[in-house]
């Protein structure tokens, strides 16, 4: 079971045991991690699951797809290095320990 750490803007850490194959968004929503909304249910339509992925595992995620790229470009509140839509991050054992920061505001 990969562990995911969601860090709130105030520094609070939410450590969740994820199910491999599920997205980082679905995992956060189901466990009630505040600040990750997932309004469109993982359809890459709303950008309300925006997170900042910390450096160590960022490279393992690969590049965002075209749709995600457009959303990051146009829909998120503030795009920075590591900006990703958590609905597009499929959790695997290799991503155990993935740590993401939750932005203060979702669109």
């Amino acid at each position: 079971m990969p562990k995911v750490v969601y860090v709130s803007p105030d520094g609070e850490r939410h450590v969740v045991d994820a199910v491999a194959g599920e997205s980082a968004m679905a995992t956060a929503v189901r466990h009630g991690v505040p600040g990750i909304v997932g309004e469109c249910g993982g359809n890459a339509s709303c950008a309300t699951c925006h997170v900042y992925v910390r450096d160590d595992l960022l490279a393992r995620l690969g590049e965002p797809g075209d749709l995600e790229e457009d959303l990051l470009d146009l829909a998120v509140t503030e795009r920075r290095t590591g900006s990703r839509l958590s609905c597009q991050i499929e959790l695997t054992e290799e991503l155990d320990g993935l740590t993401v920061d939750i932005p203060p505001v979702q669109p």
């Binding site: 009630g32 890459a44 075209d66 146009l74």
Partner: protein
């Protein structure tokens, strides 16, 4: 002792009311009750990934059981509220239980509209609204050859695409002269007709269903209003929804094709709010004419506002409505409400299955339908949220990305 808040309908909106009440600092009892036996779950995948077999039951749940327990939200599943009373507030369930409440949220949703033609009650004539419907449909799909879908709206077309992708012979019957006539313009309707035909799904427009023929109680054919008879082992009717207004009517709440609420999600009765598919409310984009919006976004947005009203901190619901539909590899994304538009611009070639249509009213941008074109969808959504327009003559030039025509601020 305080009766707290009772949320009737364990739905997208119901869950959001409960969550928002707790996030807003409400420490009173919260009980959410739903007639379905399943804990609250997402509906959109039912006609898409779940029906196709690529999403399982477990993935549909909104929250873990622990989530509700940790927040002291009581979820009662498989129990239906049959009677409601106010002053003092109490609900009587089908199990004879009485639930007291001080505040009430109606998030009761809608039911699938039923066909009223001879044979409509035959085995094999199905609907798709809730999880049990989807489970049954998925099982039936595995063993049938000929599928007839009645209704060329989102649900019917999404299910038709799934059935066709599973190798079934599929025909869609639509009584209007084009597909998705209620939500998109003719150019988009035509693109979808072509897309379905290209993938082997039959489309019959401008024809209704006269009845169904059976063998041994099981549907075998659909009889059309023009006299045609189509073989069918399975019929799916996706002919719209009817808001559940019975409980609201018991309380004497204003209803008009749904439970009437204001921009604060308040019904005509103090202390009673409503949210989601069951409501009609002022257009959240303009605050003017009353609309009924069937979408996840609306359920969530209105539910947040409903919770704020219950907490005594009313905030007006304003949002750019958006919708989506997945059919085969076509992703349709809609932002804004195009009803009443007097001008439109088509960006790109519809036959390429990647294009968008921008709608204008009185010279102002009001909506977009985007097919496999998230960039245009997002640019228009942003423009609408900022209250700015994109000049039609500039939008025509597909060489210019729409986003460059929208300010990046805000």
């Amino acid at each position: 002792m305080s009766g707290g808040t009772l949320i009737v309908g364990a739905s997208q909106a119901g869950v959001q009311v409960a969550v928002s009440l707790r996030e807003g600092g409400d420490t009173g009892p919260i009980t959410m009750i739903g007639a379905e036996t399943h804990p609250p779950y997402q509906r959109p995948p039912l006609s898409k990934a779940f029906l196709a077999g690529t999403a399982d039951l477990a993935s549909l749940a909104f929250r873990t059981p622990a989530f509700y327990a940790d927040r002291d939200i009581t979820v009662l599943s498989g129990e239906r509220v049959e009677q409601l009373r106010l002053r003092p507030g109490s609900a009587i369930t089908d199990r004879g239980r009485s639930l007291p409440f001080d505040r009430l949220a109606l998030t009761v949703g809608a039911r699938a509209r039923r066909l009223a033609v001879p044979g409509a009650d035959l085995d094999g004539v199905c609907y798709l609204r809730d999880l049990d419907d989807a489970v049954s449909l998925r099982e039936r799909l595995a063993s049938v050859g000929n599928v007839v879908v009645v209704g060329g709206g989102f649900i019917g077309l999404e299910a038709a695409a799934v059935a066709r992708s599973l190798g079934k012979t599929v025909t869609v019957i639509e009584v209007a002269d084009r597909l998705m006539a209620r939500v998109v313009s003719p150019v988009v309707s035509e693109c979808y007709r072509q897309a379905h035909l290209r993938r082997g799904t039959g489309i019959r427009l401008g024809v209704g269903v006269a009845g169904f023929a059976a063998e041994e109680g099981l549907v075998r054919a659909v009889e059309l209003s023009d006299g045609t008879r189509l073989p069918a082992d399975l019929v799916l009717a996706g002919v719209g929804i009817e808001p559940r207004t019975e409980l609201a009517a018991q309380l004497g709440l204003d209803c008009d094709g749904g439970i009437v609420v204001d921009e604060f999600a308040r019904t005509s009765e103090p202390g009673v709010v409503a949210a989601g598919d069951c409501t009609v409310s002022p257009d959240p984009a303009t605050g003017r004419r009353r609309v009924r919006l069937e979408s996840v976004q609306h359920a969530i947005g209105q539910a947040k506002v409903a919770a704020a009203s219950l907490l005594g901190r009313p905030e007006s619901y304003r949002a750019v409505p958006w919708f989506w539909s997945d059919q085969y590899d076509l992703k349709l994304q809609i932002a804004g409400l195009g009803a009443g538009h007097d001008d439109h611009v088509v960006r790109g070639d519809p036959s390429s299955e990647r294009f968008s249509v921008l709608y204008y009213r009185d010279g102002a941008l009001v909506a977009v339908d985007a097919v496999n074109n998230a960039a245009d969808y997002l640019a228009v959504r942003k423009a609408l949220a900022q209250g700015v327009s994109i000049a039609p003559e500039r939008a025509l030039d597909t060489a210019v990305p729409l986003k460059t025509l929208v300010s990046r601020s805000g």
